[in-house]
C-alpha cells in the first residue's frame, strides 16, 4: 500500500493542563506519512485538544510533539491544514477570496496563479459554480467543502479534521465524507476526529479511542469496532451504536 515514507507526527509523553485540569495524559502516538487515523471517544475526552497540539493551536504542557521531525510547530502553519466543526469561513470574503487569501498573502502567489489554484480545488470539491457567492449563501455541506478546499490551497502535507460533519444536517454529511475519502485515497496524511464509523471502516488505517484525556486503545477499524479489548471502548461503542 501507500505507507512507510517516514514519520509524519510523533507524540511523546504529552501532557496538557488547563489550569488544574489535565486534558491530555501521557499521550504517545505516532502517525506515518500517508496514514489515515480516526480518533473517537466521548465528548470532553481530549480529542480536539490532541489534534490542536499538532498545529500549535494549543500549546502542550510537557512532552514533545514532532511534525516531520521538527519541534517548531509554527513553521508548519499552512503545511498542516485544519478543518473545523463550524467551518469558520471568512464571512466578508467571497468563496474564491476565502481560498486565495492565504496563497496570496503567505505563499505570495500572483493573483492569476492563486485564482487558478483556487478554482482547481473548488472543482475538486465540486463547488466551482459557487465561487463568487458569500459563505452565508451556501448550505452547511457546501461551506464545509469550501473550508476543505481552502486548506488544500496551502498545499498541506497533513490534514486535521475536527468533527467535520457534526454540525451538518444528515443529508449533507455524505457530500463532505466523499471529499474526505477521495483525499484519503490520494495519499494525504489525515487525522480525523469523527464518529462516522462508515468512513472509518472505509479508509482508516487505525482508529484511536480516547477517554478522559488518555489513549485507551489503538487498533484497525475492524478490530476496534468488532472486538474492542478495553471495557471503556465497549461501553462507548454500545452507546453510539444504540441509536
Amino acid at each position: 500500500m501507500k505507507k512507510t515514507n517516514g514519520k509524519a507526527i510523533e507524540f511523546e509523553h504529552v501532557d496538557k493542563w488547563f489550569g488544574a485540569f489535565q486534558a491530555l495524559k501521557k499521550i504517545n502516538l505516532s502517525v506515518e506519512e500517508g496514514e489515515i487515523v480516526v480518533i473517537c471517544g466521548p465528548s470532553g475526552s481530549g480529542k480536539s485538544t490532541l489534534i490542536r497540539c499538532i498545529n500549535g493551536l494549543e500549546p502542550y504542557t510537557s512532552g514533545q510533539v514532532k511534525v516531520f521531525d521538527s519541534l517548531d510547530l509554527n513553521q508548519q502553519k499552512g503545511k498542516v491544514g485544519m478543518v473545523f466543526q463550524h467551518f469558520y469561513l471568512f464571512p466578508h470574503l467571497s468563496v474564491l477570496e476565502n481560498l486565495t487569501l492565504a496563497p496570496l498573502r503567505s505563499l505570495k502567489l500572483s493573483k492569476q496563479a492563486a485564482k487558478d489554484l483556487a478554482m482547481h480545488f473548488l472543482e475538486r470539491v465540486k463547488i466551482d459554480d459557487q465561487a463568487d457567492k458569500y459563505p452565508a449563501q451556501l448550505s452547511g455541506g457546501q461551506q464545509q467543502r469550501v473550508a476543505i478546499a481552502r486548506s488544500l490551497c496551502m498545499m498541506p502535507r497533513i490534514m486535521l479534521f475536527d468533527e467535520p460533519t457534526s454540525a451538518l444536517d444528515p443529508e449533507m454529511i455524505n457530500e463532505v465524507l466523499d471529499v474526505m475519502v477521495e483525499l484519503a485515497q490520494e495519499g494525504m496524511t489525515m487525522i480525523c476526529v469523527t464518529h462516522e464509523m462508515g468512513f472509518a471502516k472505509k479508509v482508516a488505517d487505525r482508529v484511536v479511542f480516547m477517554d478522559e484525556g488518555e489513549v485507551i486503545e489503538i487498533a484497525t477499524p475492524e478490530n476496534l469496532f468488532n472486538s474492542p479489548k478495553h471495557k471503556r471502548t465497549k461501553a462507548f461503542l454500545n452507546k453510539i451504536l444504540a441509536h
Binding site: N55, L57, K77, G78, K79, V80, G81, M82, F84, H86, Y88, L89, F90, P91, H92, L93, S94, L101, A102, R105, S106, Y134, A136, Q137, A147, R150, S151, M154
Partner: protein, 299 residues
C-alpha cells in the same frame, strides 16, 4: 417582501395621519412657547436682526463670523475623528491584548476618561497639556511663526495659521476624549469575533499582520460601524465643550455673537440648528456607507 406588500407599499416620504397629528401638536407647542415667551418672559424676538448678523461678512470682507465658526467646528471634528480613530484603535487593540504591558495602561486611560466629567478633563487638559506640553515641545514657536502664504486647501483644512496652536489644542482635547469611547467600541468589536476566525486564519499560515488586515479588521469594522457612527456624531456635539478653553468653534462664536448683540434666543437657536444639520447629515452619510459595507451579510 411579498408581491402584495410591494404593490400596496406607499412612497417613502408620504405622511400618514399620525405624522400629521404629531406635526400639528409640535406646532401648537412651539406656537404656545413662542407666545408665552413674548409676553411672559418679555422677550422681543428680532429674527431679522439675527439673520442679518449671521450673514454679515467680517470686517476684512471674509466669510461671516458665524460661518467661520461652523467651518471651524467641521475642521475640528474632521481632524478630531481622524486622530480619535487612530488613538482609539490603538487603545482598543492594546486593551484586547494578552500582554499586560499594553493592556493595563490602555485600560487605565480608558477608565480614567470614562469616569471623570468631560468638563473636568478639558480643564486639566488645558492647564497641563496645552499650557505646558506644547511650549515644552517647542511647537508653539513653530506654529505661531509660520507666515508663508497658505493655499486654499490648506486654509480650509487647517484655518488661519495664527490659530493653529489653538486648533491643535482643540483637536487634541476632542480626540483624546473620544478615543476612550472608540477604544471600548473597538474592543467589544474584537471580542465579538469568534475564536474560530482567529484559529482558521492561524491554521492557514497567515502572518499576524495579514490576519488583522484581511480577516479580523474588515469584520470588526463592519460590526462596529453603527456605534462608531454614533461616536462620530457625539464627537461633533462634544466638540462644543472646547469653547470653554477659547477654541473658536461654533459654540464659542455663538456665545460671542449672542452676548454682543443681545439676541440670545435667536442666535442660540441658529447655533442649535447648525449642529442639527451637521449631525443629521453625518448620520445620513453613515447609513449610506453602512448599506454598502454590509452587502456580504445578505442571503
Amino acid at each position: 417582501m411579498s408581491v402584495n406588500q410591494a404593490i400596496t407599499r406607499k412612497p417613502r416620504y408620504s405622511f400618514n395621519l399620525l405624522d400629521y397629528m404629531l406635526i400639528l401638536v409640535t406646532m401648537v407647542v412651539i406656537g404656545w412657547i413662542y407666545y408665552r415667551s413674548s409676553i411672559g418672559v418679555n422677550y422681543h424676538w428680532n429674527w431679522k436682526a439675527a439673520v442679518d448678523l449671521i450673514f454679515t461678512p467680517s470686517a476684512d470682507g471674509s466669510l461671516p463670523y458665524f460661518f467661520q465658526g461652523i467651518i471651524s467646528t467641521l475642521r475640528l471634528s474632521l481632524w478630531g475623528m481622524i486622530f480619535a480613530s487612530i488613538i482609539g484603535i490603538l487603545l482598543g487593540v492594546a486593551r484586547h491584548s494578552k500582554i499586560a504591558l499594553f493592556r493595563l495602561p490602555a485600560t487605565a486611560y480608558i477608565q480614567l476618561i470614562r469616569n471623570i466629567p468631560p468638563l473636568v478633563f478639558v480643564f486639566i487638559f488645558y492647564f497641563f497639556i496645552s499650557n505646558q506640553l506644547i511650549p515644552l515641545l517647542g511647537l508653539d514657536n513653530l506654529l505661531r511663526n509660520h507666515n508663508a502664504e497658505l493655499s486654499r486647501l490648506t486654509y480650509y483644512l487647517f484655518g488661519r495659521s495664527s490659530l493653529w496652536e489653538n486648533l491643535l489644542s482643540g483637536i487634541f482635547c476632542v480626540s483624546l476624549l473620544s478615543a476612550a469611547y472608540i477604544a471600548e467600541v473597538v474592543r467589544s468589536g474584537l471580542e465579538g469575533i469568534e475564536k474560530g476566525q482567529w484559529e482558521a486564519a492561524y491554521s492557514l499560515g497567515l502572518s499576524r499582520w495579514s490576519k488583522y488586515r484581511y480577516v479580523i479588521a474588515p469584520q470588526v469594522i463592519s460590526n462596529i460601524s453603527p456605534p462608531l457612527a454614533g461616536q462620530a456624531i457625539s464627537l461633533v456635539k462634544d466638540s462644543s465643550i472646547v469653547a470653554l478653553i477659547s477654541i473658536q468653534e461654533l459654540t464659542f462664536v455663538g456665545t460671542e455673537i449672542a452676548n454682543s448683540s443681545g439676541l440670545i434666543f435667536e442666535i442660540w437657536l441658529f447655533v442649535g440648528l447648525a449642529y442639527l444639520i451637521i449631525c443629521l447629515g453625518l448620520s445620513l452619510l453613515f447609513s449610506k456607507i453602512e448599506k454598502t459595507t454590509r452587502k456580504h451579510l445578505e442571503k
